[in-house]
Amino acid sequence: MLARAVTHALVGLEPRRVEVEAHLQPGIPGFAIVGLADRACQEAKHRVRSGIVSASLEWPVNRRITVNLAPAALRKEGSGFDLPISLAVLGATRQLPPERLAEHAAVGELALDGRIRPVAGTLAVAEGARRAGFTHVVCAAESAPEAALAGIEPVPVRHLAEVVSYLRGEIAAPPYEPLPEEVSEESSPDLSDVRGQERARRALEIAAAGAHNLLLMGPPGTGKTMLARRLPGVLPALTRPEALEVTRIHSVAGTLPPGRALLSVPPFRAPHHGSSAPAIVGGGSTPRPGEVSLAHRGVLFLDELPEFPRSVLESLRQPLEDGVVLVARVGGHALFPARFQLVGTMNMCPCGARGDPAVECACTSQRLAAYREKLSRALLDRFDLAVAMPRPRASELAAPPAEPSANVRVRVLEARERLLVAVPRRTEPASELLSNAVDRLPLSGRGRARVARVARTIAVLAGSTAVEPGHVAEALSYRLPGELPA
C-alpha cells in the first residue's frame, strides 16, 4: 500500500517540492528512509513511530515500511519531515484518507508524545506550497501566523491525533490567531538616551537618510554601540515586500522572535568578533544565511572592527558591493540577499587615549600603524562617513535628554522622499571646494566620490535643491582619518 504526502525542502532560501512516499509491504518488520536524508531526518523514524503510538494510532505490524523522499538527489535535512512522513505512513495504512494529502502540504517536527513542534523555515515552505498549488499547509500552531504570510491557509495543529481527526473530516480546521503586525515603537531603543555626542548623532542622521555605511571611532565606553543600536529606530519601516523578504530569511535561520509574525522594523545584527567567516557571510555544507543576510534591509554592526580576523572582514567586500551572497557548493548554489547598512567601530589607537584633548597617547607609531593596518583600505573605502567619538566629560553625561528618535526619523523620511523626487546637483562653487580639498588634503578618487555622496545627502536633509559649498564642507569633516596623513 502506498501513500504520498508533500512538503518542501529548502535550498538556501528557495523551497523545492519534496514528495514523501510511504510504501508498506508484508515481510520482516522494518522502517527505512531513503532519498538523501541527513542525520536529523533519519532519526525521524524513532519520533514518527513513538508519535503515532502516542496518538493512539496504529503502527503497522509485520510490515516493511519504506519511506522515499523524492527527488532522491536533493539533500534533505532537518526535522520538518517528521509530520509529512507520519502522514504518509498513516495514509498508507489507510488510517486517514490518502486523497486528503493531495490538498495539504505539511511541515513540522514530532515530539515523542505526538505533539507537533514548529521548525525553522516554515514561511519559505508555505510559500513553496502556495506556488505548488496547495490551498492548505498543516503546521505547528506556533508557526501558523508565519505560514499565513505566504498567502496560504494554515492548518494550525498541536498534536498528531488532531491532524488525523482533521484529515478524516471529523473536526474543522482549528482556528489560528493572527499576530498583530504592528510592533510597538518602544521595542527599539531611543536616541534621547544618548547624551552629548552631537557630531556622532548628526552623522547617524546623515547615514540613515542616505543609507551610508558609518564608521564610529573612539575609545571604549563612549557610546559607540549605544548609538549604533539606535540606527534602526530612525530608519524607515520596511515595506511589506521587504518585510516578507526579511522574515523569510529569519524564518530559515530560526531567528524569528517568538510572538512576532512579520518583521517590520529593520533588523539589527551585532555578531561578535570571534565569529567565523561562514557565520558572517553565510555558508556551511548545506548553505545557511549568515549575519550579513540576517541584517538584510537593516544594520550590520561590527564592534571593534580591527579585532575581527582579516579574512572575515575581506569576505564582507563582495556582499557590500553586490548586496547578495552566493554560496556555491558541489550540489548547487544558494543565493542569499545581503543588502545591509554597515556600522563599524574602532579605537583611534590601541591605548585609547587618542581623541581625548586632555590625555597624550602613549602608543608607539609602530603599534599605531599595526592597529590601523588591520583594516584594508578596500574595506575602509566602503565607509562613507567616519566620525570620532571622544570620551565624554561628566558634564556631558549630565546634560538634558537630547532629541528623540521620532523627530530624527521624520527628517530622515522626508529626506528619502525628496531623494526619490530629485537628486540635487553640485553648484559651481561647491565643485570648486571639492576639487580644492582633493588637492589640499589630499583625498583619493574614491574618497572624493564618498564626500560627494555624503554632501548630496546633507543637501537633501537640509531641503536644498542644490549641493552648496557648506554641504561639501560638512561632508569633508566626516572623511576617513586615513586620508589625513597619520
Partner: protein, 284 residues
C-alpha cells in the same frame, strides 16, 4: 631625473652654505624634481622629536606651511613625528621642501613615509650623502643632521625631549654659527624639556612665522585668511583658548553640529585650524 643624480662638492650648484661647514659631504645624491636649483634657495630647517604631541604636530605643520608660503625651502629629515609634519605643511602650502635621508638615496625610511617621499619628489627634493642601497643605521642619523643644519640659515626645533636627535641638529647649527630657534612648549611636558632648555640657553623663541621670517628679511605673505563668516570666527576664538573636540565646540559655541562641521572644514582648508583624531586646534 630617472636615475638618482649626484652632485659633487666641487661642482657648481653644490649649495654654498653646506660647502661651508667643517665636514661637508663629498657628494649629494638627489631624487625628485629636475630642479636642483632648489638647493640655492634660502632654506629653513624644522626638526623635532619622532614621538611628539598633537600640539607639536600641529605647530610643525602650520609653521612649515607659513614659511613655505613665504618662499623658504623647508628642510627636514622625513622622520616620523615633527619632521614628517614639517614636510606635509610645506606641501600643503604648495611650497618647496627638501628631505635629507640618513640612508641610501633609494630608500624610503621610515617605510610608512613612502607616500610622503613620493609627494616630496613631485615638487621638492630628497637628498642623501649615501648612494643607493645603503642601510639606515643609528650612527648615520647624526651625520644626516649636520647636512640638515648645514643647508639652512636657521634651524627651528619644534618639540624635543631632553636627549633628542633634534638637539644634535641644533648643536651642529650653533657650531656653524647658524641661527637656532625653538618653539616653547608646556613646562610640565617632558616632550618639551629639550626645546625649553634651548630657550634657556638663549635660542630665540618662535611664537609665529614672522619670528623666523625676519631672519631672512622676509615678511609673512599677507594673511590670506579669507572672510570665513561669523560662525568660523566664533569657533576659532574658542579654539584659541584651548584645543577642543567637535562636540565640545558645539556645546561651547551653541552652533549646530552640521553648521559647525562645515565651518571647521573651511577653517581647516584655510590652514587656520588643524584636526587630529577629532580634536581641533588653532594653528599658529
Amino acid at each position: 631625473m630617472s636615475e638618482h643624480a649626484c652632485l659633487r662638492r666641487r661642482e657648481a650648484g653644490f649649495p654654498a652654505l653646506l660647502a661651508a661647514i667643517h665636514d661637508p659631504p663629498a657628494r649629494l645624491h638627489l631624487r625628485g624634481s629636475d630642479d636642483a636649483g632648489l638647493l640655492q634657495e634660502p632654506a629653513v630647517a624644522i626638526v623635532g622629536a619622532r614621538a611628539c604631541s598633537a600640539y607639536g604636530r600641529s605647530v610643525a605643520r602650520s609653521l612649515a606651511r607659513e614659511l613655505a608660503a613665504a618662499g623658504l625651502v623647508v628642510v627636514s629629515g622625513m622622520a616620523r613625528g615633527i619632521d614628517g609634519e614639517a614636510h606635509r605643511g610645506a606641501l600643503e602650502a604648495g611650497g618647496m621642501t627638501l628631505a635629507v635621508l640618513g640612508c641610501g638615496i633609494d630608500r624610503d625610511y621610515p617605510a610608512a613615509h613612502a607616500e610622503l617621499a613620493r609627494r616630496i619628489c613631485e615638487r621638492g627634493l630628497v637628498v642623501s650623502e649615501y648612494g643607493a642601497g645603503v642601510e639606515p643605521a643609528p650612527w648615520r642619523f647624526p651625520a644626516r643632521n649636520r647636512i640638515i643644519a648645514g643647508l639652512c640659515r636657521a634651524t627651528v626645533v619644534v618639540e624635543a625631549r631632553e636627549r633628542s636627535g633634534a638637539l644634535i641638529t641644533a648643536d651642529l647649527a650653533l657650531e656653524e654659527g647658524r641661527d637656532v630657534l625653538a618653539v616653547p612648549g608646556e613646562i610640565t611636558s617632558s616632550l618639551s624639556a629639550g626645546t625649553n632648555a634651548l630657550l634657556k640657553l638663549g635660542a630665540a623663541p618662535v611664537t609665529c612665522a614672522a619670528d623666523v621670517l625676519e631672519l631672512y628679511d622676509l615678511v609673512a605673505t599677507s594673511p590670506s585668511a579669507p572672510a570665513l563668516g561669523p560662525t568660523a570666527e566664533t569657533l576659532l576664538a574658542q579654539l584659541r583658548d584651548s584645543p577642543l573636540t567637535g562636540d565640545e565646540l558645539v556645546r561651547a559655541s551653541g552652533i549646530d553640529p552640521g553648521e559647525s562641521a562645515a565651518a571647521l572644514t573651511a577653517l581647516e582648508l584655510a590652514g587656520q585650524v588643524t584636526v587630529e583624531d577629532g580634536v581641533y586646534r588653532a594653528a599658529i
